[in-house]
């Protein structure tokens, strides 16, 4: 089927996508690298000068960077744990026969379609607000002191908000995977006297490994760059308590107008993401071969 002629045609068909993606990847990145070696402030245009590695040392030495790095990892890992564990539990529940499966499915998946700015603002105001939020009303009802979630536990609150958006995704994928589980094998194990814990550990979990991998991979891509949720709830604060790497770079370059420093931060973020990516791509690469 693949003649020389069709090979040439195929190359022609692929090339626009490859060229565009290559340019998209390389041009802005090269510019970021270039800017990161400049002393460049948007408030003093035309005053750019060579800075060597000083932007990098400046960015890495500020306490905010280490806070942001820690917050980024906490956010990713926190949301992953909640969504994967919660997703498995929910998938196991929804995989059982019950009345109204279609409607429950629709309700569970809905948060995934809510845009980040909406979900963050709704949680911030209608639920977590210490005066008028629903949690405050509930606390008052029980005679407790309302808790100011976003001031006193900003990162944890953002983790909850982001996890709410991603739980449906994990649940749906794991549920789909569960439905392809061999029921006869399950029944055989049941008859042989395996209790549900053993059935879960030795049959269900191994069957889910591949889909859990996929959930982790895809969510990590998106979670490393969580931005809108932080922008509209805490602005990274109080202090740097909820600043992650994307937010720090944004603040440095577009709020402080420090293009050089922001670019150095951007490059550091790219390097970190690549370390995670290499690790993850190996995993998914293996899975896709299977």
């Amino acid at each position: 089927m693949a003649t020389e002629h069709s090979r040439t045609a195929a190359r022609l068909m692929v090339s626009p996508a490859v060229i565009l993606l290559f340019l998209w990847m390389i041009v802005p990145l090269a510019m970021t690298v270039y800017f990161s070696f400049l002393r460049y402030n948007l408030l003093n245009p035309g005053m750019e000068s060579w800075a060597g590695f000083s932007n990098y040392t400046y960015f890495l030495k500020q306490a905010a960077f280490w806070d942001a790095l820690w917050n980024t990892l906490t956010l990713v890992v926190g949301v992953l744990i909640i969504t994967v564990v919660g997703g498995i539990a929910l998938a196991l529940l929804l995989d059982q026969p019950f009345f109204g499966q279609g409607i429950v499915r629709v309700m569970v998946i809905a948060p995934f379609f809510v845009m980040p700015t909406v979900s963050a603002l709704v949680w911030k105001n209608m639920f977590m607000n210490p005066v008028n939020g629903m949690f405050a009303h509930i606390a008052k009802f029980f005679g407790l002191q309302p808790f100011d979630f976003l001031s006193h536990a900003p990162l944890a609150s953002i983790i909850v908000i982001v996890a709410w958006s991603w739980l449906p995704f994990a649940t749906l994928i794991l549920l789909t995977a569960l439905q392809s589980l061999d029921r006869e094998q399950m029944e055989a194990a049941e008859m042989d006297g395996a209790n549900w814990i053993n059935r879960f550990i030795y049959l269900t979990l191994p069957h889910l490994t591949r889909s859990i991998t996929v959930v982790i991979l895809i969510q990590t891509i998106f979670l490393l760059s969580v931005f809108a949720e932080i922008l509209v709830t805490t602005n990274g604060g109080p202090g740097t308590a909820s600043t992650n790497l994307p937010y720090l770079v944004y603040a440095q370059s577009l709020l402080n107008f420090d293009v050089g420093g922001g670019s150095a931060g951007g490059i550091i973020a790219v390097i970190l993401a690549n370390i995670v990516a290499i690790f993850l791509m190996r995993m998914i690469g293996k899975n896709l071969e299977a």
Binding site: L21, L29, F113, L254
Partner: protein
């Protein structure tokens, strides 16, 4: 397949599943309700909210405060536009890789996916400066380009997994029967490829609609989609729960409806065919 399940067990599972489903859905339900309340009622305790009067005032006020129609159209143009452009680039590419695979096709696909790994913030500064210098800040055309490139790898991957499932033998059979290239594409491949293209289209409109990094960075008013329209409510101002709820409901309703239609395709689409 059919396991006998006792009625009690089914009853318990039904109750548990509905409870969990309701809990997860509750924030969305709550903003839909609050949108139809007055500002004074919207901040009351939950039970008092439910028993208070219903009104459409907030929807009117949201409309007066900012032009919902404009932002809605921006969202439509950005999400549909970027998806269509991405499809135009991706269909030939995915097609060629699926039907004329070479030695390096798999590497190429992995490389494309790896471009998604690059955090947007790594190129924020140059993108912002380029947009500024070319006068593209707050313009729809620039943002369509950015959203196209962001979603292009996903579009190619999704299409590839769909096209891969079209059996090559069918083409050979058609050729044996004397079908020309035109007939082949028109009567055999197109009908088989359309469902895959349609679900790719739907899913990417959803992703682009909800994209909230570039849309927040590169727009302010004229080209601002609904993500930015909602973000304008981030600084507290007097009583605004009902208005925020009404605005939020209007921002998510279109995509919620579209999303429910596409939920069957969602899993395989978003996992690049790795989970079916």
């Amino acid at each position: 397949m059919s396991r006998k399940v006792s009625a009690t067990r089914k009853g318990i599972v039904t109750a548990a599943a509905w409870a969990v489903g309701f809990l997860i859905f509750f924030p969305i339900l709550w903003i839909i309700i609050l949108g139809f309340k007055s500002e004074g009622d919207a901040i009351k305790a939950p039970l008092a909210v439910l028993t208070s009067a219903w009104t459409l005032d907030s929807y009117h006020e949201v409309q007066e405060r900012s032009n919902y129609a404009l932002h809605f159209w921006n969202s439509v143009i950005l999400s549909v536009g970027s998806t269509l452009v991405a499809l135009a680039i991706a269909i030939p590419a995915a097609w060629a890789m699926a039907f004329v695979p070479g030695k390096r096709t798999k590497d190429l696909l992995m490389w494309m996916l790896s471009t998604k790994m690059m955090p947007a913030v790594g190129v924020l500064v140059p993108m912002y400066l380029m947009f500024r210098d070319f006068g593209l800040l707050d313009s729809r055309i620039g943002l369509v380009g950015v959203l196209t490139m962001i979603n292009l790898p996903i579009v190619i991957w999704m299409l590839y997994t769909y096209f891969k499932e079209i059996p090559g033998e069918i083409l050979e059979a058609a050729r044996m029967d004397g079908a020309g290239l035109k007939a082949e594409i028109l009567y055999i491949l197109t009908p088989m490829a359309v469902p895959g293209i349609a679900s790719t289209l739907l899913l990417n409109i959803i992703l682009a609609w909800n994209e909230a990094f570039w849309t927040l960075q590169l727009t302010t008013s004229q080209a601002a989609p609904l993500t930015q329209f909602i973000a304008s409510y981030s600084s507290p101002e007097g009583l605004f729960y009902a208005k925020l709820s009404a605005a939020s409901t209007m921002a998510i309703a279109p995509i919620l409806i579209l999303g429910w239609f596409s939920q069957k395709q969602l899993v395989r689409g978003l996992t690049f065919g790795a989970v079916k």
